[in-house]
Symmetry: none
DNA sequence: ATGATTTTAAATGTTTTTGGTTGATTTTGA
DNA sequence: TCAAAATCAACCAAAAACATTTAAAATCAT
């Protein structure tokens, strides 16, 4: 791994996440403590980052308000945990589908050095993937203005031309009886197709999505493995044994 | 393998991937370590690439802050003027194509209230258009990592299924004899097709692009109207009367 | 064909990068 | 507050990458 590659990765992570600890960088970049430390030192000397005890942060990241609000309103930590675990399931040289959504977006920094091709229907994901220099293909179609997801019948049609090793999906709701669902039927159609075109489908969902039902059905629970942080035991019992569930926080 | 061939290859790779190791180049080009190193050295002396320990990278791939400086030092004002004039040419309810590039990006804020449908091959433009709540369609295809433009034969194919009222193109170079050109052949193919699919094509180019020639030809000058800030009078005389030129600063 | 020039590959020693070790410093939790 | 744990800074030796030289091979001009 080239020094400049590492530095660029660090800058990108900081740009996307704001703060990072050295330990995480060591793991993500397969580099020794000294190496990471040296990189951080040099980046600091170029005043591209700000070093803090245990890691580094974006320069001028002292807007407590904005960050604290942002971070605490959403369960960022759980999402990152889920994302990291999901990324660990990916093998080298695979072609994966990355669905729109914040949890799948958190997977991006963990996708390096796997020689992947990533296909996505999210403009935001595509941009982040490019930032991390990961070869990426965007599905064509109409942009949903609120989420910047790419949807529509032509997009579904394009998806059907591809085949993925693994698909990583977000969801708004999953329910033991009604399966995965989402408010927008167009979005649901897209998700359904992507899952069909993958050898293995994974749904990333934090506990707030558990037991919920939304307007448009995407698939039955059994059609994907669930990766989540925690599920109430009584719901866990109700879910058919055919569905694989991983709780990353345990 | 000719020296120039190797250099072209190296530049292409860097343009798409951003960074490359010497070892990879040795393998890809069947050349010895010294040869690759010499190529890199010469390319660096021409300041076409930036050499780093272990390989080379695209110039300025790392300098966020320099990028910011560059953005502000560059002729933003001219670009915005050009963009605003270009946007004023658009009628209500049209379908327009927006090419990748900084000048066309500057058009986005002027596109509201026109009831347009915008088609683009740029992830960045798509995101900005969505922010401005402008109905947008993205072309599908591979993302060029350094510019986030969407390219490739499938993208060209998709473009051919559409028809635009107007197409607004960026360019790296235009020349009275050699027409419009750009460094990346894939990008050129995309531009050529987009212009063919539009009833009217406009090329937005500030004066720095005037009289320049780049690697891959996009089209003849006569195939689009030029919108620019200023053109030297003697070049203006050389350009055929068939080409419409608008100088917005006057 | 011949000699001049360019391009290439191998060999040399030098510099840079890297991961581990040391002891000092800071943070954490009782 | 104190002690354990984590992090840090400084140093060292091995490995990787570098610049330079040299000679062979290919290309070019005459």
């Amino acid at each position: 791994m080239l020094t400049e590659e590492r530095k660029q990765y660090i800058l990108q992570v900081l740009d996307h996440e704001g703060i990072i600890r050295s330990q995480e960088l060591m793991a993500a970049l397969n580099a020794s403590e000294s190496t990471i430390r040296r990189d951080l030192k040099e980046l600091e000397e170029e005043s591209l980052i700000e070093r803090v005890h245990g890691g580094a942060q974006k320069i001028g990241l002292l807007d407590f308000e904005q960050n604290m609000v942002e971070k605490s309103s959403e369960n960022v930590h759980e999402k990152r945990q889920i994302a990291q675990y999901a990324a660990s399931l990916i093998d080298k040289n695979e072609v994966i589908y990355l669905d729109a959504g914040t949890t799948t977006l958190a997977m991006v920094p963990f996708l390096r050095e796997k020689n992947l091709t990533v296909v996505t229907n999210s403009v935001e994901h595509a941009s982040a993937l490019a930032d991390f220099l990961i070869p990426t293909r965007v599905i064509g179609g109409n942009i949903k203005l609120t989420t910047k997801a790419i949807l529509g019948s032509k997009s579904v049609q394009e998806l059907k031309q591809y085949r993925f090793n693994k698909a990583f999906m977000g969801t708004n709701a999953f329910h033991e009886e009604y399966g995965y669902s989402t408010p927008d039927p167009e979005e649901a159609a897209m998700k359904t197709t992507a899952m069909e075109q993958a050898d293995l489908a994974f749904v990333l969902a934090d506990h707030t999505k558990c037991g919920q039902v939304s307007f448009a059905k995407v698939a039955d629970l059994s059609q994907a493995a669930i990766i989540t942080d925690q599920i109430p035991a009584e719901i866990l019992r109700k879910i058919s044994k055919k569905t694989t569930i991983t709780e990353v926080s345990k």
